[in-house]
Amino acid sequence: MEELKWFFVDFFQAMSAGLLVGGIYGLMCVGLGIIFGVMRVINFGQGDFMMLGMYGAYYMFTLLGLGVLLGPYAGPVAAAALAGPVVFVISWFIHLFLVRHVTGARVVSSEAEGHYAQIILTLGIALVLANGGLIVFGSLPVSIPTPMSRESWSIGLIFLNKARTVGFFISVLSAAALYLFLSRSTLGKAIRAAADNPVAASYVGVDVDRSHRFAWSLGCAITAVAGGLIASTQTFQPYIGLDFVIVMYAGVVLGGLGSILGAFWGGLTIGLVQQMSTLILPYQLQNTAVFVVFLLIIFFRPRGMFGRVWERA
């Protein structure tokens, strides 16, 4: 009896951890999902933009004094939120100078060739960011020093880590805000139009190149915010992006490439898979479990399981 009880405690503990982490993964996936949904570009650098968000939040908390100013509870949240605009600006310029040349109207006529160049260019960007990060930030693992990462709220026998719980709610709110922006505002509609049918969008006067740049930067910034939230929950180093790039793609593909809501549910599911795999697998194979799930999804449900796919007509 006692054994069964502890099994359920473990089970629900892992599930709640999965849900909380999954919510943050969901936001991360939404960022990637916007970029793919709008530009049809596979961004291999997404994990490294997330890494930038982590370090951005970390340095804002420590060096810029947000930690001192706002304290150890509000500080990390504000730092994560502010990492978004910073990465937005960086990625805006990366699009302007690099990504623009291999995406958009220029390569519409050469579909496959375009993908080829995009995959390789973003791989190059990923390498420069990760290794440049190693040069600038050093290889020592760090995390945002906040008591939230050690404290938790308890519901019965289940413990909810404070940093993860706060991250979860901020993620859900951000994803919802983004959804409203895309479905209600004129700019959001223009971005959706550019995603749906770039040629027709340019005929009605949407500047597709600028919409793409905005979507790219927004996507990178959202993932960076998610990274900033994760920075309070675990240690990280400049190479961390690579692990998360697979996590993100698993989530986005699971949700249906191109669907923004789907990306959120996909990320949530991946979080659950990752945390609950520890019930049966050794801790080191957490990520392997995610990769295997990713491969299974890609083989059997390449169109995803959730959400409406914003496919071109």
Partner: protein
């Protein structure tokens, strides 16, 4: 209003348009006809800016379009209703019409224009909250034309509105286009593969073959031309 002079367009070394010259006067209904692959769509793409010509000139109301980015051309009052409709499938009918008014000049008039568009195509009113991708081909074509009208254009460019539609629906759509031309005194440039239907309602016509204008003339001249009658009208 729209003047095209010795336009040359090539894709990968292959000439799609050769020395093409076309003129559209204010208030005219001009049809460009020819078989599949004659370069009709390429002509439209060059006007809208989604392909870059090798040489030649395109002016609209005296302004040079050649160096103007596509989005800016839409703001001049040129509405392009593309081949194959190209509605925003994942957006509602109303959102599609709203996007039609996205270019600056239309946005002001957008709400006042809406009733007249919905009058013209009552079926769009019935389905205004439906996703455009779920409409039938004919309804999508009407939506595409409606989207063009939402920008309060001076020139409406229609690329093969008959494509993939049953003849009765084609007839209905051509009737509407004729009505738009008459009632709103809108300048219309139409390219069509269905030669008979297109030539029927136009003021001026051009016959395109393998990227060249092989024949041009007024409605009457073309309809009575022996070659046209034999090659396109099946007489």
């Amino acid at each position: 209003m729209l003047r095209i002079r010795s336009l040359n367009v090539a894709y990968g070394g292959l000439h799609a348009l050769t020395d093409l010259s076309i003129e559209v006067g204010e208030g005219q209904f001009v049809a460009v006809v020819g078989p599949n692959g004659a370069g009709k769509t390429t002509l439209f793409k060059a006007i809208s800016g989604s392909v870059t010509p090798l040489s030649g000139e395109i002016t609209y109301g005296g302004r040079d379009l050649m160096k103007m980015p596509p989005a800016e051309r839409a703001r001049l009052g040129i509405a392009h209703v593309p081949e194959g409709r190209q509605v925003f499938a994942s957006m509602t009918v109303l959102e599609n019409l709203e996007m039609g008014a996205y270019a600056g000049r239309g946005r002001v008039d957008w709400k006042t224009l809406l009733p007249s568009i919905l009058d013209l195509f009552p079926v769009l009113d019935e389905r205004k909250d439906q996703l455009a991708g779920t409409l039938s081909g004919g309804e999508q074509q009407m939506l595409a034309i409606g989207r063009g009208l939402a920008s309060a254009p001076e020139l409406l460019m229609l690329d093969e509105p008959s494509m993939g539609l049953a003849p009765t629906i084609v007839d209905a759509i051509f009737d509407r286009v004729h009505q738009i031309h008459q009632q709103h005194n809108l300048t219309i440039l139409l390219v069509e593969q269905r030669v008979a239907e297109a030539l029927e309602s136009c003021d001026l016509g051009y016959v395109l073959e393998t990227g060249r204008v092989v024949l041009e003339g007024t409605h009457d001249a073309l309809m009575s031309n022996e070659q046209v009658r034999r090659a396109y009208l099946g007489m």
